[in-house]
């Protein structure tokens, strides 16, 4: 290289090329170091470009056993204001907020104060749910700053029908009462969750969505409740409510053999579509959340125990002390004084003294065991929230007087479901069923039965139930306490109860009048409970509750076209007997 002249133009080219290469190398190296610095060593923090988007799913419906929709969810819209957008618009149009508020006021018909309250920054939720027409109107205005959120609104098409059973949901769609609460997890389904990128202008890009959780719509609940029976029950309870003006009436219709609740209602009722308008007291399902002293109804336990233990026979004479008996340091009274009654008549006439004597024959321990066998003092396991077990003290907590109180339904507390379940055991041949309200879950095309037919526990023998049924049949006849419960042609069995309420530690003149009865029929084993809390104008279960029971049963039989055993259905339904029976109730005449 050195032998070439250093001034040669080619050598200059070569040398300068070397310089160029080094300069380029340096520059490329700078870029590379810059890349390492910016990408790995000190990467700038990226603000959130991906948003979590929750896809709300519709809450499952609630259907009766025939498929009538009792509760459903309809898509709705909520309204928010986006102050960022409003501020942007205000730059162009300074009076924009006033215009927006004027529009809102006009469409939503809100007062100024209300509007001021809901449109306060920074999180102005104007309405959680808009009506469809309001939504349409607002959407058409296309005003910037209005943000609609998609929600689902719970609707109960039949209003107060079965309100206590179904319950209601809160603002966020969470179950608050009744089945809506009990089956909340099943009904609400699973909201879908996906990550959706936003573009530089804040818009979501659905095509780049990454689904983290697919939305699973809530399952539909199919109830055991029969819409027709429920309507009948509600109407009859409403009549009873107007007739006796009680604090509360509870009515339950149950299928004795399976434990399916066919209808359940309380009065006063409320409309779950606007549940917030009634006090909380009205929203409780008192069939399970309250207990009452059952009174004479509880005598069936003693009677069943005596028969089961073989201590008595039907015609066994029992002296009833002419209505007044001093026992264990207390006076015991009968409503009507009786002399000697047979075992059968003790139950039919509902003699307290006779029953206590039977109980004394059994002894405390046996009596207690039978109470437990009938399921008193424990939860029935019904799928309604808030059930209480009632009160049944164990024997060692009993006072000396307890043996004279428990058999006639004092010192014990039962809820209505327990009562009807005990009676169902007599109707179905001695089995303690599990009452339930929900028959199956439906999601997609699948049905999941919730209660598989488990063999219910037998608590008394079939013979006992037959014998007891024949006695209880006479209760609902002219010789018994519940003559007004009888339906000519049908075998109606039942037991009245008239329990004085304990107020401030003393038995008061206020009563709970109740009647639990069942139809002794091979095709339909219906048990019906009617319990009237503090009726006015009349007191006895046979007078207050029995006629309501009878009307309910009669209308159910009509709707089912169920003829008495061995007769023609058509003749019975169209015959005069039924109508006359109803007239008798309305005129309150003795049959």
């Amino acid at each position: 290289m050195n032998n070439i002249q250093s001034t040669s133009i080619d050598q200059i080219f070569l040398q300068r090329m070397e310089v160029t290469r080094r300069v380029f190398t340096f520059l490329f190296a700078v870029i590379f170091l810059g890349l390492v610095y910016r990408q790995v060593l000190r990467p700038a923090a990226a603000p959130g470009k991906i948003v979590r988007v929750e896809v709300p799913v519709a809450r499952g419906r609630i259907l009766d056993r025939t498929g009538t929709v009792l509760a459903t969810s309809v898509p709705g819209y909520g309204l928010y204001l986006d102050y960022w957008e409003i501020r942007q618009q205000e730059k162009k149009e300074p009076e924009y907020l006033f215009r927006l508020k004027a529009t809102l006021k006009q469409v939503l018909r809100m007062s100024d104060d209300q509007l001021e309250k809901v449109t306060r920054p920074p999180y102005p939720l104007v309405r959680r749910s808009l009506s469809l027409s309001e939504y349409e109107q607002l959407r058409k205005t296309g005003l910037p700053g209005l943000v609609f959120t998609q929600t689902h609104q719970r609707v109960y098409p039949f209003g107060p029908l079965a309100a206590h059973l179904i319950g209601f949901v809160g603002d966020e769609g969470e179950g608050l009462e009744g089945l809506e609460l009990f089956y909340d997890s099943v009904l609400k389904g699973k909201d879908g969750l996906s990550m959706v990128p936003r573009d530089g202008q804040g818009r979501l890009i659905p095509s780049l969505e990454k689904v983290l959780a697919r939305p699973e719509p809530g399952a539909d609940l199919v109830l055991t409740v029969d819409f027709t029976f429920q309507s009948i029950l509600e109407e009859e309870l409403e009549k009873g409510q107007q007739l006796f003006q009680p604090l509360n009436i509870t009515g339950i219709v149950m299928d004795a053999s399976s434990g399916e609740i066919l209808a359940l209602a309380n009065r006063p009722a409320y409309d779950p579509n606007c549940f917030f308008r009634v006090p909380g007291e009205y929203r409780r399902n008192k069939a399970v959340t309250d207990y009452f002293e059952p009174g004479s109804i509880f005598k069936i336990v003693t009677a069943a125990a005596c028969l089961e233990e073989g201590r008595v026979h039907l015609g066994q004479p029992i002296f009833c002390e002419n209505g007044r008996w001093y026992v264990r340091g207390h006076w015991l009274h009968d409503v009507h004084p009786y002399g000697t009654l047979t075992f059968e008549e003790v139950i039919i006439k509902s003699s307290n003294i006779g029953t206590v004597k039977l109980a004394l024959m059994l002894g405390e321990e046996t009596l207690y065991q039978y109470c437990r066998r009938f399921g008193f003092g424990e939860l029935t396991g019904i799928d309604i929230p808030g059930e209480i077990p009632g009160v049944l003290r164990p024997v060692n907590d009993w006072s000396g007087y307890s043996i004279t109180a428990v058999p006639i339904g004092q010192e014990v507390g039962i809820n209505a479901i327990q009562g009807i379940r005990a009676m169902a055991a007599l109707a179905n041949g001695g089995f303690l069923v599990r009452p339930h309200v929900v028959k199956e879950l439906r999601s997609g095309g699948n049905c999941t039965p919730l209660y598989r037919e488990k063999e219910p526990a037998r608590i008394i023998s079939e013979k006992t139930t037959q014998v007891l049924s024949s006695i209880l049949e006479k209760v609902a006849s002219s010789e018994g306490t519940a003559a007004r419960a009888s339906l000519p042609g049908y075998r109606v069995c039942g037991k009245t109860g008239t329990a004085q309420k304990v107020i401030n530690g003393r038995y008061s003149s206020r009563v709970v009048a109740s009647f639990i009865g069942y139809l002794y029929h091979p095709e339909a084993k219906l048990v019906i409970l009617v319990s009237v809390d503090e009726p006015r104008g009349a007191q006895y279960g046979g007078v207050v509750a029995a006629p309501i029971f009878r009307n309910i049963l009669w209308r159910i039989l009509q709707s089912r076209k169920l003829a008495p055993e061995g007769t023609d259905a058509l003749q019975t339904i169209t015959g005069v007997n039924g109508d006359r029976g109803r007239d008798r109730l309305l005129t309150k005449k003795r049959p």
């Binding site: 300068r16 090329m17 070397e18 290469r21 590379f32 810059g34 890349l35 990408q39």
Partner: protein, 409 residues
């Protein structure tokens, strides 16, 4: 140097251009979807056009590669006329009412891209003929005049990026042509003054400089683009989010598919991707420079150096803008940015470069070999470095320097 070693240069060039074309086309598909949807609703709008231009450019590249070089070499008029023609096209967008594009039917063409190439062709031809009278300052007349004309015309298009690139190319070629250092220093001084004047003339350029060097200021306004560019690069990390999975193109990074496409590469392919792209641009540039040493004649020598450095300058400016090392000036990345005319011109340049390489690496006769004047000065494979390192390893070609005698260059 053996022929086998020479052919290595040609293949290196081929591989580099193939990789850059494939990667570039993929990145165009990925980066242009967001803006394409925003503009037309069709996510493939830019990509389809790009493919069309790619086909067209490929054809032009093949033509220039096969027939172009010899004609250009022989015919001085073609070069002059093509240069003047492209100069005439430069102000046409002003009359059409567009900023930088001549729009014909579905195609839009940016004459500034054409000027880059024709200017280098013109310079190569000019310097070939005036090389041996290098010390006379009047030799600088035509290059400087044409440069000033281009600068003036570019100002109507508000195109500072092309100005910088042309200025650098001019400087480099004059430097290689052996202009005295005082001439070069004078020219550099004048160029810098011109640059300052151009920046001061247009207020938006001042703001861009402020935003480039004070990126924390006015994040949602002028500083938004550099800020987003940093975020985009940073979110890539080592390996990136994956091809097509980037988010910055969704209108976060304005002009992501054009002036900031390298940031998208960084976001989707991470440091790995950006390094690969960097590496192949290094290959392209250095191959061009190496070709300049081995080329058959002076024209090819300057042309190879000019085209190679043109790719290098474009990459460096683009990457510098993306890294916020220099103010934003709208420089595209060859083969990666959306833009039909840019792709076409880059492909033609590549075709010419390959033709030079083929001529140099596969000489058809002994005369060809002897004709190339620099062959005798071939630097012996003398690596100072290797002396101190007994371990034998191949020094990468872009680090293989010969000694620079400091006395005169």
């Amino acid at each position: 140097m053996s022929l086998r070693k020479r052919s290595r240069l040609y293949y290196r060039l081929c591989v580099a251009s193939a990789v850059l074309l494939i990667l570039g086309t993929t990145v165009v598909l990925s980066s242009s979807t967001g803006p394409a949807i925003e503009k037309t609703g069709n996510p493939l709008y830019y990509f389809q056009r790009h493919l069309l231009w790619l086909a067209l450019g490929g054809l032009a590249m093949a033509l220039f590669n096969r027939f172009g070089l010899r004609r250009l070499e022989k015919d001085k008029k073609i070069l002059i006329f093509s240069f003047i023609g492209s100069l005439c096209l430069l102000p046409v967008p002003i009359f059409l009412g567009t900023l930088r594009w001549i729009i014909v039917g579905p195609f839009s063409f940016q004459p500034a891209e054409l000027v880059k190439l024709t200017f280098i062709l013109f310079l190569a031809d000019y310097l070939r003929r005036h090389r041996y009278t290098r010390k006379q300052i009047r030799n600088l007349f035509w290059p400087v005049v044409s440069f000033l004309v281009i600068t003036l015309l570019l100002q109507f298009q508000r195109d500072l990026g092309t100005f910088v690139i042309i200025f650098l190319s001019l400087g480099l070629l004059l430097f290689l042509a052996g202009q005295p250092r005082r001439h070069l220093a004078f020219m550099t001084g004048c160029g810098l003054v011109l640059l300052v004047i151009l920046i001061l003339l247009f207020p938006y350029r001042r703001e861009r400089i402020v935003s480039a060097f004070l990126p924390g200021k006015d994040l949602m306004g002028k500083g938004y683009q550099p800020f987003q560019s940093k975020i985009t690069l940073g979110s890539g990390g080592w390996l990136g989010r994956g091809m097509g999975a980037g988010l910055a193109k969704l209108l976060y990074l304005p002009e992501a598919h054009k002036d900031y496409v390298y940031a998208i590469v960084g976001e989707e392919m991470g440091l790995l991707g950006t390094s690969v792209v960097l590496f192949f641009f290094v290959v392209l540039t250095f191959s061009g420079l190496e070709l300049a040493l081995r080329a058959r004649n002076d024209f090819q020598r300057f042309l190879a150096a000019g085209i190679g450095s043109l790719f290098g300058f474009q990459f460096l400016l683009h990457a510098g803008v993306v890294l916020c090392l220099i103010p934003a000036k709208g420089t595209t990345l060859p083969f990666f940015s959306v833009g039909g005319s840019s792709l076409l011109i880059n492909l033609v340049s590549l075709g010419i470069l390959l033709a030079i390489a083929r001529d140099a690496c596969f000489p058809s006769s002994l005369e060809d070999l002897q004709e190339s004047s620099l062959l005798h000065y071939e630097a012996p494979a003398r690596m100072v470095w290797r002396r101190y390192h007994p371990v034998r390893f191949r020094v990468p070609f872009f680090l293989r320097y010969s000694k620079i005698s400091s006395r005169r260059w």
